[in-house]
Structures are given as structure tokens and as C-alpha cells.
Symmetry: C2
Subunit: 233 residues, 2 copies
Amino acid sequence: MNRPVRGSWTEIRDRIRARILSRDLKPGDPLPRDQDLATDLGCSRVTVQRAMRDLADRGLVLRKRRGGTRVSEFPETRATLSIPILRLEVEARGQRHGYRLIEAARQDSPAPVIAAFGLERPEPMLRIQALHLADRVPYVFEDRWVSLRTVPEIADLDLERVTANEWLVLNQPYSRGELAFSAATATAQEAGVMRLGAGDAVFVMQRTTWAQRRPITTVRAIAGPDYRLQTEI
Amino acid sequence: MNRPVRGSWTEIRDRIRARILSRDLKPGDPLPRDQDLATDLGCSRVTVQRAMRDLADRGLVLRKRRGGTRVSEFPETRATLSIPILRLEVEARGQRHGYRLIEAARQDSPAPVIAAFGLERPEPMLRIQALHLADRVPYVFEDRWVSLRTVPEIADLDLERVTANEWLVLNQPYSRGELAFSAATATAQEAGVMRLGAGDAVFVMQRTTWAQRRPITTVRAIAGPDYRLQTEI
DNA sequence: AAGTGGTCTAGACCACCTT
DNA sequence: AGGTGGTCTAGACCACTTG
């Protein structure tokens, strides 16, 4: 058990959080100035500041320069999702990761891809369809488009041996990305590849990344109805 | 444009990040000690520490007490999801939020609820089924169980006027919660309430919260195939 | 205009982990 | 055992925002 040391910023944070959770301090209530808290709690102001920043990061309090600190009116839930590389995710569960390239072909970006990237006209891209397996069972099917302008090296890659995702993560850092989750009905191809029934629901993870303004890749990854994206809050 | 001030921790962070993203520093590479970086960059060690903590929080570098700082081998994507109260989410889009209570009834927790909470035996609970609307269109259907042992006050609430979620958020803080997203096929009831076709895919958000060890609420919220949970990365 | 949070510095000590 | 990151203190100045 890590007992917080007296005067440590985690101890200060936990004390203040306890007062909020116990409703000793109610939503909207102002908190004392950092300096006063520091004096009362017998620590330096920087330590209070450190504790407060943590609480503010979690959305529990609202801080404004002149307005002071207040308990959030509507504490919104913030969850941090860690999205590991699929291979590592599968291996972490003690299963064997498999990867099967289904298709890789040059093709100009169609309308949905143009829209996802916010492009003005079609660009030459590499379309990669691949299946990830966990212990030989279909796990995630990905339909990916990679810009050949931004990442020409992808064309020379042996995509049977290296997954596009891992190569991109290590070799083409992105400056900005969008991530969206939704549900959909499996298309005929998706159902076939994933060995699902026609019309089964699939979990959709759509991810698009850019290097500055230039498109890198957009991928629609499909997991079956058993898939759960989980986190603690 | 907020130009980082010379010597500020954000400037230090951005410089180091740039070296990582440009692959001047490659995955696995060690970084200089904080003290050396501070001397080189002309700032104090605390400032380097502040920048490094930010990079470590984002998973870009790995820090170990004796082992120093290294660029992450597999920079995993971390996304922060903000899950606001549904009413605020709808209103933020300029739509009118509606709420319709479908059913509220006392009932001992059935097996799936016992499992979700990790209970040993059934507990008396209040089951609440309700529909959220955005501009009169079904938006999210929630099927909620609230523990009457932990939150007896919920029984006296006028659930036609106050949504269970908002009341709980403000009046029953949780100490721990689990959040999971998945896809499923709409049940007959869900399809009926949400005005979906039978067999349509729905986006499932399952959330369970505890106060210390005591169960508060578990809710299965259903959104239609148009719903997208989005975030920037 | 003034008060509050945000940050920086320098020095010190602590805690943890690797060698 | 020793070196690295983690944190604390005190004082100072800055930047934002509200009255």
C-alpha cells in the first residue's frame, strides 16, 4: 500500500478530492486560493498547484486565473483509452497473433477517403486490406488507405511480413489524428472475412492521421460483436 | 498564435517532441539526463521535468528512475474521451434535449447485473428504462439498474423530471468505474423504442460505478448506427 | 487595476531501480 | 551502491481575467 507521505502533492490532492466527493464542497462551490490552502495544509503553494492541476485535468475542478478555483458544475467523465498495436494487444492476452494480407493495390482515393482526409481532389494511394487473427480466429479486419504522396516508401514494403500499421507507427509519425467509434452492420465482404453471419453487428474503429496538413492514412477497422473496448474511470 | 516563450516548458517539450517525430531520436534511443538537457537548453531542471512528464503522459517517452529516459519502442495511441451528460451533449449541438421515462420498477438484480457489479447475491435495485431524444428524434436508450442499498434516495426521486444520470452525477459520486464500448444487434424492445429496423446494429456503452466496494449503478446505453464517439489524438 | 492561477529558478532531499 | 528521475521549498515574476 502506498501511503501518501505527509505534505506530498498526492496527499493534498486526495484530501481535496475527498472533500468534493463527500460533498463537503458542492458543485459550483469556490475553493480557497492556492496560497491559503498551502498555509492551512502546511505545504508550499507549488505543491497545492500540482494537486490542483491533477484535479483540473480530471475535470473535477475548474481553474481560472482571476476567478479562482471552483468545483465543476457538471463533472464530466474522462476516460483515457490506450490503443495498442493489435499484435501487442493479442499477445498480451496470451494468444498468438496472426496476420493475413488480403489485398494491396494502388488506387486513387475514392470519395469517402477524400472526405475523411478533407482533400480537394483524388490522390494516388495504396489500399491495403488485411486480417488480424488471435489464435487463428479472425479478430480485426482492416481496410486501409495510405497516401503514396506522403509515404511513398510504403509501396516498397513487403506487406506480407510487416503490418502497415506497425511500419507506419514506427516510421511515419503523425501530427494530428481523428478517432471515431461506431456500430455498423457487416458488409458481405466483412462478414465473409470475419466469419460472421450476414447482417451481424460489427464494432467500427475509424482512424485518420495527418503529418502537418498532408494525409498519411485512414483505416476502418472492424471487430466482431464480442469485441469490447474497455477502460477504467 | 501562441508562440511558446523561450525557456518555457512547452517550448522545451515541443523541441524534444520534434526531435522524436523527425526521427532524430529513434524509438528505443536514450535521451540525455534532465540535468544535461537543462544545461544545454538553458533552463532549470524542473522545467525539463515538467516537459518530460507531459511527453511521458502521452506515451512518447518512457522514464525510469535509474534507467533514464528513452523514446518509447511502441508509442501507443492515447485518446482521452470526454463523456458529457447527454443533455449537455445534445444542447451543445444546438438541438433540444428530450427525456422520456419508460419504466421505473423495483426488482432484485438479475444475473447479468450481479455479474457486472461482482456481487455475490441479488440486491434490491431500481430498474430505470428511459429514452433521450434530440429534437424529438430517439437518440439514446438507457437501461439502468441502481442499487437501493447504496442509493436509497433514488426511490423518492421524480424520475419524470430529473434524469437518473444527472441526479447520480451530482449526488452520488463514485470512486471507481468501468466503461466499455461494443457493437450489438438491437433487441426487439430497443429497435421499437429507438425506431430502428429489427436487426439493426447499435452502439453499446456499458458503464458501471461503485462507491468504494458498494455498487451504485450499471447502465447499458444504446445509440443507433449514426452515432459516433469521436476524439482527437 | 488588481487579484488569482501559471510558471521559473536554485538548491535540496528522497525513492527507486539498475548495475 | 550509486545515479537517475520525482518532489518539495521559497521567492519571484508573468499572464490572464474579472470586477
